[in-house]
């Protein structure tokens, strides 16, 4: 083949290769753009999921126990149960009291800053004016974790087994994970007497503390932050990104500084802030519980015993029908009726308001937060 012809072939081949390369680059660029845009959507959705998480935190936070100061190891840990962000127990005089309070109505918060543990003068959760920061990574093992074993006491299905079909409760259910368990064997058969002898509380402290190390695959994805604005009103900040719920660098370095979480690199933190989605919502908690089902408690349909039937239903004019006890099964007039109550011990979120941007505090003081 002559040089000219070889050159022609080369031109053709190069042209084809260029075409293919161009196509590939165009596809890659398009895909990358798509991925980036999708990532933004994913972050937005992740942030919105945090609204649910934040509201759930507020609901449960109305009732769960609080220590006087979780970081102050000199104080006893009581985890005293609380009775709502506004104490639900009757206020016989005056307005209802702010919560959370313990059984003796003593406040489970303090407005007095505790600086002995090296912290600044900001109020501490759950006081009004304080914020809780909640990065939503998964812990390696939460405190007081229980194992995911579904059935510790399965009934034998072999008819030859002397325990066939008998629901013996040989093993406690649930149980701690093996790594921090109390030594009770979880695999039947086991002699309960022998098993009980092997139980030890040597790992109780480890079990109660858990392992708070984040699982890497879950870190840096999302967080929420709850600021208690008044008795029952909160600002929930929903974030999708890696800032772990710190407002800004000043918040990171507020005593005790946690700048090492970001390698003491302010620029890194601020880039993370720029990359993440933040949404602000104002919500209000209510002590009203979710829907209970009174359909059978107030049964308008069941005829009284004296009703002879036929023609009409005039005897339904009576002022009382049948009161079915809650949590009781009834058979009446050809149908089974169960009273159902869906318990909710945490209250409800009464309203939600999206804020257009981060709210302002009353002052510019670093200890005066608004979210």
């Amino acid at each position: 083949m002559s040089t000219t012809r070889r050159g022609s072939v080369l031109v053709v081949v190069a042209g084809l290769a260029l075409l293919i390369a161009g196509l590939a680059i165009a596809f890659l660029a398009r895909m990358r753009g798509e991925a980036e845009e999708n990532q933004q959507i994913v972050r937005t959705m992740q942030a919105r999921v945090m609204l649910m998480a934040g509201c759930g935190y507020i609901l449960e936070g109305a009732r769960v126990g609080y220590d006087p100061d979780p970081l102050d190891t000199t104080q006893a840990r009581s985890h005293a149960e609380a009775f709502g962000w506004i104490d639900v127990r009757p206020a016989f005089t005056g307005a209802p009291l702010d919560g959370p309070r313990d059984a003796a109505r003593a406040p489970l918060w303090t407005d007095v800053p505790v600086t002995a543990s090296g912290r600044g003068a900001r109020k501490r959760w759950p006081a009004i004016g304080a914020a809780a920061r909640c990065p939503m990574h998964v812990l390696r093992q939460p405190p007081f974790a229980t194992a995911l074993t579904a059935a510790y006491n399965p009934m034998p299905t072999d008819p030859a087994d002397p325990a066939f079909a008998k629901p013996y409760l040989r093993h406690p259910d649930p149980q701690p994970p093996q790594a921090t368990g109390n030594g009770w064997p979880t695999t039947p058969p086991a002699d309960p007497v022998t098993a009980a002898a092997a139980v030890s509380d040597a790992r109780l402290a480890a079990w109660s503390a858990g392992d708070r190390e984040p699982r890497p695959e879950s870190a840096g994805i999302s967080w929420f932050r709850v600021f208690r604005e008044s008795s029952a009103r909160f600002v929930v900040t929903c974030g999708a990104g890696a800032t772990m719920g710190f407002r800004d660098w000043a918040d990171v370095t507020y005593p005790p500084s946690q700048a090492e979480l970001f390698g003491n690199d302010q620029q890194l933190f601020e880039r993370l802030v720029q990359d993440e989605v933040r949404l602000w919502y104002r919500v209000e908690w209510s002590d009203a519980i979710g829907s209970a089902y009174f359909g059978n408690f107030i049964d308008n349909e069941i005829y009284p015993a004296s009703y002879a039937g036929g023609g009409g239903s005039n005897k339904r004019d009576w002022d009382h029908w049948l009161l079915h006890p809650i949590n009781a099964s009834q058979r009446s007039h050809g149908s089974l009726r169960n009273s159902v109550v869906r318990p909710n011990h945490c209250g409800t979120i009464r309203w939600i308001q999206r804020l257009s941007s981060a709210p302002l505090a009353a002052t510019d003081d670093a200890d005066d937060l608004a979210w």
């Binding site: 398009r30 206020a91 209802p96 519980i289 107030i298």
Partner: protein, 429 residues
């Protein structure tokens, strides 16, 4: 080597030329086909990418709507176009001359539609509504019937929307007037006021979860003629077999507004006039409407195919109406879907050859829970391909949306103000 031979070596023979031309033509054809395919591929890729981008834009638009309710009330638009759910109407039922019943809609400022004869003005403070507060406790007899004989007592004196109600009815005899303290009027006054000012969805949004939608007042006689469909005639929508409003329906013998005493299983309307039914959210749908489908209450958008062009009176009516959502065989259910949904084209001015994206939102209360249903629908006029993304969302509630809005148009921008200067909104006194 001769010159002829040299010439033959540097040139093409005819055969070579023909073969070269044929091969070249084949290559060019292949190239053209490849280029055409590449161009087509790029076009399709671009189109899909644009469709994906439109879907994303639709999703963002739907979520923005969830949080800011612009389809229902647009503070940036002129009131006549953007704020059609703010007016209220007044109607006289003859019971209290000079005090017409004022009925509002979901975005009516509370101060504009609160009953002028209310014993208490509206009070939305969380501590006022706390179960620890005696005034917030519901007092009544759940077993009391429309035509009952009050054998369990006259509860209208323990809770009433009036300070000094005149109690009694023709069936039970006159009882006289009693003067009630605030503790016995506050809750009835709040519930009645919220219902009058905001309509059904608004009442359910504002009242605490699991509230009994019932309050005592003075006895008012029900209308004598329930109408051909066994329902009392509507004052503004004659002939419709819906189930509200009940203001002209009168009260039970005990003094309940019969607006919320509605049918039970058995479902014959004359019967329902006799049998009450006290409305807990769960009870309302699950038990008493079981045989006729679930009831739903919607914030009815002001500019959909059903409501566009309706007047204030008709819009007020729609916000006091419940829908039988599940029973698809009733006329009311076929009304539910188009009446309660807001569908908007994302790009209303785009050429018809462009993919069309529509975003829909429906806000309703069904089966005891407020629900926001969203839909993003993309249809391609070129391929006929349709993609739809349907989801429920969690965001700003009606009360939250009302607090985003200034009473006379514009936004109430809380975030830009210090707490001491927080702006006025639709719930401000």
């Amino acid at each position: 080597m001769s010159a002829r031979e040299t010439h033959r070596q540097v040139g093409f023979t005819l055969i070579e030329l023909l073969v070269a031309l044929a091969a070249g033509a084949l290559v060019m054809l292949a190239l053209a086909a490849a280029a055409r395919m590449s161009a087509g591929t790029m076009t399709i890729a671009n189109r899909i990418a644009h469709e994906n981008a439109l879907l994303r834009a639709g999703l963002v638009d739907a979520l923005d709507e969830v949080d800011f309710w612009r389809s229902y009330d647009d503070p940036d638009a002129p009131p006549a176009q953007g704020q059609r759910l703010r007016p209220s109407i007044a109607m006289e039922d003859g019971h209290e001359p000079g005090h017409p019943i004022r009925l509002g809609m979901p975005f009516t400022p509370l101060a504009a539609a609160w009953p002028d004869n209310a014993t208490e003005t509206f009070d939305l403070d969380a501590k006022s509504w706390s179960s620890a507060n005696r005034q917030a406790r519901w007092r009544g007899n759940l077993m009391e019937k429309n035509h009952g004989d009050l054998r369990a007592g006259r509860y209208a004196m323990f809770s009433n929307a009036h300070r000094a109600p005149s109690l009694g009815s023709p069936d039970t005899g006159a009882f006289g007037s009693v003067t009630l303290p605030t503790e016995r009027t506050w809750l009835a006054s709040q519930m009645r006021g919220l219902n009058r000012a905001l309509g059904y969805y608004g009442l359910m949004d504002y009242a605490p979860s699991n509230s009994p939608y019932a309050w005592y007042g003075e006895y008012r006689a029900p209308p004598p003629d329930p109408g051909a469909d066994h329902n009392p005639p509507y004052p503004w929508r004659p002939g419709t077999s819906g189930h509200a409003p009940a203001v002209p329906w009168g009260t039970t013998n005990g003094g309940y507004d019969r607006e919320f005493t509605r049918p039970m299983r058995g479902n014959r309307e004359l019967e329902s006039l006799r049998n009450p039914f006290f409305c807990f959210l769960g009870d309302w749908n699950n038990n008493n409407f079981l045989s006729i489908g679930g009831g739903s209450f919607a914030v009815v958008p002001p500019n959909n195919d059903v409501t566009r062009g309706l007047d204030d009176q008709q819009m007020v009516h729609y916000h006091r109406w419940w829908f039988y959502q599940l029973n698809v065989f009733t006329a009311a259910s076929t009304t539910y879907a188009p009446t309660s949904i807001q569908v908007e084209r994302l790009l209303p001015l785009a050429p018809t050859t462009w993919p069309e994206v529509s975003v829909s939102v429906r806000r309703s209360s069904s089966y005891g829970s407020g629900t926001v249903e969203c839909g993003v629908r993309l249809s391609s006029p070129v391929t006929g391909h349709v993609s739809a993304l349907n989801f429920t969302a969690f965001g700003t509630t009606l009360r939250g949306a009302r607090m985003q809005r200034a009473p006379y148009g514009g936004w109430a921008d809380w975030a830009s103000a210090r707490p001491a200067t927080w702006p006025q909104h639709l719930d401000s006194p």
